[in-house]
Homo-oligomer: 403 residues x 2
């Protein structure tokens, strides 16, 4: 199993060499490029999870997360797991056996959310929606068929398809159905306006390795007062001890009751990453994501590639690109990685094998990344006999020139 | 909420200063001291979770974990959460609603395990045992009352009391009851012999921030073939999607099916930490933990302090110390932290307020740490009018001189 260099210890056990990762340009569906300030923050000395200095860090993290989420929610904190743990946190805290959940299935992550909810004992009403399109509130309302629901869930930014979900109609629907409104903001937080309070989102989760440009491993979560009230009124205990917010908020709140040992150094990284987000400013950061996404899209279309998601529904941090007929998509990705140290993502679910996913998240949303990707992709396609229609760099430059 | 330095962004949002943790001597119940090689490994460039180089790292991690666990188990991997997530992983994969679990309650972590199992729908038979003592297999067998069980669970190293649990009698009991045998090795792995295969342990979990001397955030887990067969034969789905080993092993195995985005940089740290463990050698590392624990114990008793756990049941990486009458234990810990940058732990559960927990884990198991702790603790006690009985440093030196 050991394929790199190695040595032996006195007992004859194989010890692999220290790991030296290559320096990649990360334009997949996450992780995104991590700024050196964030990586080096993670290498700072570990301290205890009840150290007064660490408690101060926790308070600052909550405050910065509130700023980035656009909320005053007291319960706003990073869960000790990746984005999927955040998804499960929202579900297991808000759902009891028999709870009713309404969701539109338009990608891998909405499908996952429905699965997680069923495992928690929910009765899930799921509406199949075309992948690569936003969910239509009317279709959900029809499926609700006049019944009350406990939760209306949506994927604000579908990382499997590159669709940005409009929120107001779903929010209004949740209100009419008597439901709380849950949003997956894994690929939107820090790159697209999320504004929990303004959007009436009761519960949201995210990840660190997308538009926050931090390594993966943590999941920021926020619960409104209504969501916390739901949690307080539960009859059944939260099925997960590890993700039980009624316990975790006693550690992240001022009681400081030990729950589990927080992932100290990962939280140093998130602290630094959030500082960078706030220093840039949310509006400027969102505009940056939008601009580079437009430039990338223009370049890709100039090459003659098709973007399946309608312009109005495109998610700036993630662009879905159809693989042209006759092109071996795996070979293209291998070419980019081997020749340019450039990672883009393959398709997921219904798009597996027929689309690429190109991420422009956080520090990866730069003109350098856009130009590198267009150049490298153009060459990878030519290597398989595909003749680009036009000049991708010129098309992207036109977007930048227009400002 | 922001108590350190700060600035503002253009939108008027407060941005705290970059976090500079103090350099602590970590002698609490974990996290332990992290060697610079491990911290700096975590700062290396982030790469993708499906990058061929990352897949190689995963294979090396599994191989090294097998070595440290003492097992050939194919399913041996780090879960993307802390030790408590590892506990929950073992439970939710092995337990279905109605499964029978047998456990002795002699500390916080066995109590937690019983709670986690009940939340997963298990019927838990729990035997109350004196805290600070090992669990007696006969008492468990009596409670079993001739019934068959699905799982016998034990805490190999009780971090709340400093007790090392002997395994053979419990293992034999599990066999007689038709049960799988689960062991919590959070505070033993890397510091005390664990030897899963030799000890007939079917499932085990651990943490990184104890004797592996890595920051917290990951939980190494290992399942035997019998445990994997149990998982394969389940009728009910695993209640947690995030912790479902039937999905996770498809990513950590050769299929490489995406499950969640692995915590890349934390895994760099674990890789380096495991390398250091193997370079030192398991036997030498266990001997080191034993020696420093004996020296610490001798020094503490020379001071006139009482160690509640009987010598034969003491856990080398964690020593429980009674707080003498009339001593304010919180003030002692504050003195150590403020005057010496030294962290020791307070008591947990039944020992809250009346005991300290002193950790000698991984890189914290050193003569320097032992001497510093004895010196500082002696002064902290004198500051409250306690007169040490004898010379702690001389008593610990005698242990070192004896070799």
């Amino acid at each position: 199993m050991i394929r790199g260099g190695f040595s032996f210890n006195l007992a004859g056990m194989v010890i692999p060499s220290s790991f030296s990762p290559p320096e990649r340009y990360l334009m997949g569906p996450g992780p995104s490029q991590v700024p050196p300030a964030v990586s080096s923050a993670m290498a700072r000395p570990t301290i205890g999870h009840l150290d007064p200095e660490f408690l101060r860090l926790m308070d600052e993290l909550k405050e910065m997360l509130r700023g980035v989420f656009g909320t005053k929610n007291a319960c706003t904190l990073p869960m000790s797991g990746t984005g999927s743990a955040g998804m499960e946190t929202c579900i297991v805290n808000l759902i009891e056996p028999g709870s009713r959940v309404l969701i539109g299935l338009n990608g891998v992550f909405s499908t996952r959310l429905a699965d997680v909810a069923r495992r928690a004992g929910a009765e899930v009403t799921a509406v199949e929606v075309e992948w690569g399109r936003a969910v239509d509130a009317d279709a959900l309302e029809k499926a609700a068929a006049g019944r009350k629901f406990d939760l209306v869930a949506t994927i604000h930014a579908e990382t499997s398809t590159g669709v940005l979900q409009p929120l107001p109609a779903l929010r209004a629907l949740a209100e009419r159905l008597g439901a709380l409104f849950l949003a997956d903001t894994v690929t939107s937080l820090g790159g697209v306006a999320v504004d929990l309070d303004a959007n009436g989102i009761d519960a949201a989760y995210s990840g660190t390795q997308k538009c926050l440009s931090c390594p993966p491993g943590l999941s920021p979560v926020s619960f409104s007062e209504r969501a916390m009230a739901r949690l307080a009124q539960r009859k059944a205990p939260v099925q997960s001890w590890y993700l039980d917010l009624s316990l975790i908020t006693r550690y992240w709140g001022q009681e400081r009751v030990y729950h589990h040992t927080a992932p100290i150094n990962a939280l140093y990284g998130l602290h630094e990453a959030l500082r960078l987000v706030l220093e840039e400013g949310l509006a400027a950061r969102q505009a940056r994501h939008r601009q580079h996404s437009l430039a990338l899209g223009a370049g890709l279309e100039a090459l003659g590639l098709r973007l399946p998601v309608p312009t109005a529904e495109r998610l700036p941090p993630l662009t879905l690109v159809s693989v042209p007929d006759g092109i071996d998509e795996v070979r293209v990705r291998k070419f980019l990685l081997d020749q340019y140290n450039l990672e883009i993502g393959g398709g997921l679910g219904k798009f597996k094998g027929n689309a690429w996913r190109i991420g422009l998240m956080g520090a990866s949303a730069s003109r350098h990344h856009v130009s590198l990707c267009l150049t490298a992709l153009s060459q990878a396609l030519r290597a398989q006999g595909f003749t680009p229609k036009g000049d991708a760099l010129a098309a992207s430059a036109a977007v930048y020139d227009a400002g």
